[in-house]
Symmetry: C2
Subunit: 372 residues, 2 copies
C-alpha cells in the first residue's frame, strides 16, 4: 500500500519532483546553476506575490526564522511577538537568544490573535520596533489574519513586520507586497511540494534599512552576502543543489496550476478534512472560523492513547499523521494537507481513521465512518 | 558527452546515490528516519575514526564552521587562527564576526603551515584558548599536517583544537580520536560522494566543556539541541531528507570500499593529476611535499586567460574545472579529485587540457599532450 504521508512537512513530492532531484551535480558557480537560481527566485517571488528581494537558503525553515531575526534586529530592541502556539514560541526563543527584548501577546489554544490585542500592545509601548508573528500556526492548525494584523502594525503604527509564513505562503493567500510584509519566510518541504533542505526569505526595502542598522552578529545567514552573490547568480555557500532541482520542477508545476487554483485546492481539501473529522464524531482543535487550510488539528478522543492511534494508522493503514507538539503532545493529532494533496488523499485518511479508531477504544459516528 | 565535473565540490555522485535521493518523503519524527540517522551517524563516526558525538546539520560546510565557532568560544576569547588560504580566511572571518579576538599565523601561498610557527605563537601568548585550522586548504590545494599541529596544540599546550576538515576527512587520513581533534567539520558534497546540503561536525568531551561555557548566542546551530534530539533519532529542525537518503547510500559504498582503499585511491588519482599537469608543461601551485590529494591547483600559464580556458574546457570538452578564489582569481585553476573519481576521469582532464591549451595560446609539452 503506498504511504499516505499526511504530516505538515515533509510533504509528499510528485514523482517528477523526486526524479528531478536525481539529476547529476553541476558547478554551483557555473552558468546552469545561475539560470536555475534566477528562475527559481523569480518563480518564488511570483508565488510570494512580491517584487522584494528573495533568497533561497540551504537550511530548514527555522534557519530562515533565525535569518529574519539576526538580519533586522539588535540586542535590546523591543519587539512584540504574537504567539498562538509552538512556532510562535520558537520565534520568541530565537529573538531572546539574540538578546532581543520580547513582549508577547497570545490567544487561547485553537484561536487566532485578535488584531485589537496587537493594537493595544503597540499603543502601550511606543518603543516597540518590530512585530514578529506566525501566519499559520502549524502546531494548532490556526491561521492568523496577517492582512488585518498588517493594517494595524504597518498601517497604524508603521513598525517592522516579520512573518513566519513557513506553512502558509504558496498554499493559502499571503500577498507580501499588497499586505506590506517586511520579512517573510518559508521552507521547501511545505506547500512547495519539494524535499526539505531549502528555506526562503523575502526582504522589503524597509527590512534592508533595518539590516543596515542591525547589530546582531551573523555569518551563515547574512542576507547582505546572499544579495551580493545572487546578483551574479550564486549563493554565498554551496547550496543544496539536488533540492533546488526538485524545487525548480515543483515550482513549474505550481506555476502551471496557477496560484488561485492552488489556493482553491487547499481550501477544498481542508474543508473535506474538517467535514470528515466531524462526521467521524471527532472534535476539531481549532476554531473553525480561523482553521488552517494547510493543517488540521484534532482532539485526541477521550480515553484514546494518541501515540497508539498514530502507530496503528501507520503500521496497518499506511497513513502517517503527526502528533501534538510540546504541551499538546498526546492531546491532539494533526493532518497535513498542504502541497501535493488531493481529496482522495483526505478520504484515505478518513477511511483509515474509521477503521483504526474502534481498535483504540473510540467508536466513530456513522456507519463505517465514511466522511461523505 | 557526459560531463566530467572536476571541481572540489559539488562532486559527482554515483548513479546509485542520485537514485537513492529520489525516494519518497518520510516523517522526520518517525521510525524510518530514526533508523537512517542512527545508521548515517554511526558510519560517519567510523569514517571520522571517532567515538565523539557527531551531528548532521542541514547546511553547507560553512554552517558547520560557524557551528564550531559559536558552540565553543565566547566574545573576547583569544584564538590562534592558522590560515593558508581562502578557507582559513573564512574561519577567521566567522570568528571575528562573533567577537573572538583572533591572532593569525600564515604560510606563503602554496605552502603548509610550519607547526613551529604555531608553537611560537602559543608560547608568545599563554592566554590563547583555542586554535582554528584548515586541514586541507581547497583554494590552493595544500594539506596541513594536522597530526603534527595537534602534537603542538594539544600535546604541548593543551588548547582546544577546531579543524575545518571539509575537503579532507573521508578522503585523506584524518583520525579524529588518534589525533585528539576537538571539533572537526565536513560537508556532504566533498569526498562523501553525496549532493550538498548536509554538514557534519564532531565534538570531543573537551569541546562539550567549552560548549557549556561558551557565550556566543546560537539557535539554529546549537549543538546541545542537536544532541538532545539525536538521542531519540531526530534532528531539532526538519533535515534535508533526500540528501540524507543519498548520503546513506554513498556511506555504504565508502564502507564497502574500506577507508584505507579510499585513501589509496585518492592518493593515486592525485598523483596521476600532478604527473599529468607537469607532463603538459604546466606548473603546480602547491609545494609538492604538501600537495593535497583531494584538489590540485595549477598556475594559469603566462599569457593565458584563465576564465577563457575554463569556459572552453566546459563548452567544447565537457570538463568542468574551478578557477581561483579571491585574490587568486585568474591566477590559477583547480582540479577536484575527491569523492567519486577514477584515473580515467583524471586522464579525461589531461586530454581536454592538451586540446584546449593551444587554443588559448599555450603549447603543452609532449606530442599531443598525452599525460602518460
Amino acid at each position: 500500500m503506498p504511504v499516505n504521508l499526511r504530516i505538515p512537512g515533509p510533504t509528499p513530492c510528485p514523482d517528477e519532483v523526486l526524479e528531478a532531484g536525481a539529476q547529476p551535480m553541476i558547478n554551483h558557480r557555473g552558468p546552469e546553476f545561475r539560470d536555475m537560481i534566477f528562475r527559481v527566485t523569480k518563480r518564488l517571488q511570483e508565488l510570494f506575490v512580491t517584487k522584494n528581494d528573495l533568497f533561497v537558503l540551504t537550511a530548514s525553515g527555522t534557519g530562515a526564522m533565525e535569518a529574519a531575526i539576526v538580519n533586522t534586529l539588535s540586542p535590546g530592541d523591543k519587539v512584540l511577538a504574537v504567539s498562538i502556539g509552538e512556532f510562535g514560541e520558537r520565534f520568541i526563543q530565537i529573538a531572546k537568544v539574540y538578546g532581543v527584548n520580547v513582549q508577547v501577546v497570545t490567544a487561547p489554544p485553537g484561536k487566532a490573535i485578535d488584531p485589537q490585542d496587537i493594537r493595544k500592545a503597540l499603543r502601550a509601548d511606543p518603543e516597540i520596533k518590530a512585530v514578529i508573528v506566525t501566519h499559520n500556526e502549524t502546531s494548532t492548525g490556526v491561521t492568523n489574519d496577517i492582512a488585518g494584523i498588517s493594517r494595524v502594525v504597518k498601517g497604524e503604527f508603521d513598525k517592522l513586520l516579520l512573518v513566519d509564513a513557513i506553512s502558509s505562503i504558496g498554499s493559502i493567500p499571503c500577498s507580501v507586497d499588497a499586505w506590506d510584509l517586511d520579512v517573510v519566510t518559508s521552507g521547501s518541504q511545505k506547500g512547495w511540494m519539494a524535499p526539505p533542505g531549502l528555506a526562503f526569505i523575502s526582504m522589503s526595502k524597509r527590512a534592508w534599512q533595518a539590516q543596515a542598522q542591525s547589530k546582531i552578529p551573523r555569518f551563515y545567514f547574512d542576507l547582505a552576502a546572499a544579495k551580493r552573490y545572487l546578483e551574479r547568480g550564486q549563493t554565498p555557500w554551496t547550496p543544496a543543489v539536488s533540492v533546488l532541482y526538485s524545487l525548480d520542477a515543483s515550482l513549474e508545476m505550481l506555476a502551471n496550476e496557477g496560484l488561485e487554483n492552488v489556493f482553491n485546492r487547499h481550501a477544498q481539501v481542508a474543508q473535506a478534512c474538517r467535514n470528515g473529522i466531524k462526521k467521524l464524531g471527532l472534535k476539531l482543535f481549532a476554531d473553525e472560523a480561523v482553521a488552517s487550510n494547510t493543517v488540521t488539528a484534532v482532539h485526541t478522543p477521550p480515553g484514546v492513547d494518541g501515540a497508539k492511534l498514530l502507530a496503528l494508522l501507520e503500521s496497518e493503514y499506511s497513513v502517517v499523521l503527526a502528533g501534538g507538539q510540546g504541551s499538546l503532545s498526546g492531546k491532539l493529532f494533526r493532518v497535513g494537507h498542504l502541497g501535493y494533496c488531493s481529496l482522495a488523499d483526505i478520504q484515505g485518511v478518513m477511511d483509515a481513521l474509521a477503521l483504526a479508531l474502534p481498535r483504540v477504544g473510540f467508536t466513530p459516528a456513522g456507519v463505517g465512518g465514511r466522511s461523505r
